[in-house]
């Protein structure tokens, strides 16, 4: 079965988990794509699988160090991790690995070693650190032929094949074959510089066993930590004294507030690391005199938490108005029914009625000061942002 260990990807590819399939990480050059296979390998080792790492562009020891850099200890699994060394022979160095490609620029030689590996080892995950390097050394058409036969063989022996491929300017046909034709699943990884969002994204281009999702997601690479889905801005807004700042602080791994006399005057800013997500949270002030600042800060949000005081229904008008000020039409939002511990707090259903909210807007009961309900709210909003319809 293929498990990538990349947040959300497994969910998207989920459902059926077929054996003998293959997957390619199709990486735009200039993007930190190497980490994808590393994370996949670590994930499958952790789940008790056998892994083979085919290295073409660096030494096996460098790869081992990379795991460390991301904070992943592979020592406990060293009997399940094999390397195919196609690098050291290239620079004329000796190799201590069990599998060595003695002439990495000769595709027959390469194929022979891969074939041995596929036939000898228990079903596991075979990972190519850089298919593009193989292609550079052995030629485009030759490599494509070889990959086709490896994939067939892998299917026969129930291995999973995972390739990292950097899309250098190869011929159009080659790139199209890789993107559309040769693999069961294609995950594309690229960079964006759109307006002010600078970053890296991945998306599932193709998967022949799961329903296709055209959704792409921003990510960042943390050392240690690996790939985290990145949400540059989630806005927390709501009327005065609803508990926005408490909410930001309850949710955040670390947070900063600008407040005077217990009320936020500029903004609360927090950063959340939770379940493979890395998100920045912006909390606005609530009083009307700060509306210009709210407008200023609300651009580029990807989702909104609307915090309301469940004991104070008179504020709901202002809450609705704040949704308007933040120009949040069309953005996913979640209502936080805060202060549920106080007497007289309305239930989420009562709030829905009073507020006149459509049924598909989630209302999460919460006590922000005691961290109750905040992570549930985060998960619900993240699911809405990443396009899970069943949320």
């Amino acid at each position: 079965m293929i498990e990538t260990g990349i947040p959300k990807v497994d969910e998207f590819l989920g459902g059926v988990k077929p054996k003998g399939k293959n997957l390619v990480y199709y990486i735009q050059h200039g993007v930190e794509g190497e980490i994808f296979v590393i994370q996949t390998v670590y994930n499958s080792l952790k789940n008790g699988g056998t892994c083979v790492f085919v290295v073409s562009s660096t030494t096996p020891d460098n790869i081992r160090n990379l795991f460390k850099e991301f904070g992943w200890d592979i020592d406990p699994y060293k009997n399940n991790l094999f390397f195919v060394d196609a690098y050291n022979p290239l620079i004329g160095a000796l190799s201590n690995e069990k599998y060595v490609v003695s002439n990495p620029d000769n595709i027959e030689d390469f194929s022979k070693v891969i074939t041995d590996v596929l036939k000898e080892l228990h079903p596991g995950t075979i990972v190519f650190g850089s298919l593009s390097t193989v292609m550079d050394l052995c030629g485009e058409t030759e490599t494509i032929e070889a990959v086709r036969s490896w994939n067939k063989l892998a299917m026969l022996y129930d291995h999973v094949m995972v390739y990292n491929f950097t899309a250098w300017p190869y011929s159009r046909e080659t790139l199209d074959l890789i993107k559309k034709d040769m693999f069961n699943a294609v995950i594309s990884i690229g960079g964006i510089a759109e307006r002010v969002i600078f970053g890296q994204y991945f998306g599932i281009l193709k998967s022949d066993w799961a329903k296709e999702t055209k959704k792409s997601m921003l990510f960042r690479v943390l050392r240690p930590g690996g790939i985290k889905l990145f949400i540059p801005k989630i806005l927390v807004t709501g009327p005065f004294d609803a508990g926005k700042s408490s909410f930001v602080h309850a949710l955040s791994t670390r947070a900063i507030s600008v407040d005077r006399f217990g009320t936020t005057i500029a903004l609360d800013h927090g950063h959340v690391d939770y379940k493979g997500f890395s998100a920045d949270i912006f909390g606005t002030p609530g009083q009307e005199r700060f509306d210009p600042i709210i407008k200023l800060l609300s651009g580029e949000s990807m989702g909104i938490f609307l915090v309301v005081d469940s004991t104070n229904p008179t504020d709901f008008v202002r809450a609705k108005q704040m949704l308007e000020i933040t120009k949040s039409y069309g953005l996913p939002y979640v209502v936080i029914a805060n202060k549920q511990d106080l007497p007289g707090a309305l239930t989420p259903e009562e709030i829905r009625k009073q507020f006149n909210l459509p049924d598909d807007v989630p209302i999460i009961p919460a006590v922000a000061k005691d961290k109750i309900g905040v992570y549930e709210a985060f998960e619900v909003l993240i699911d809405k942002i990443t396009g899970e319809s069943d949320a």
Binding site: G191, V258, F282, L297
Partner: protein
Amino acid sequence: MPDTIDMVDKVLADLKKVGGVEACAAASRDGLLIRAILQQEYFSESFAAMSATMLGAAEAATTELGKGVPHRVIVESEHGRLIAVGAGRRALLIVLVDSETGLGLILLELDKAAAKLKELLA
């Protein structure tokens, strides 16, 4: 596309070379970090968000009083100074300066860098 990122990095790297500049960052007007050269990546997001708020608040305040758009916001404290300038409609530039160096050259370079950043993000 990643080229724009490289170019923003170049603008920041040049600015960082100016004597007295300890750190610099480019952020969007609405407080998202674009790129930064800082000691600790950790604080850069909050740094960007707070600086965008300061500049935004300053602009709101002076414009409201009929004094026009401020050229920059300079914050002086015991251990250094923070300067934020607008770089077009979308972005702003922020530098942290030590407490000794005179600001003349830094302000000049900052304005130049802001003009470049404005072009890059236009």
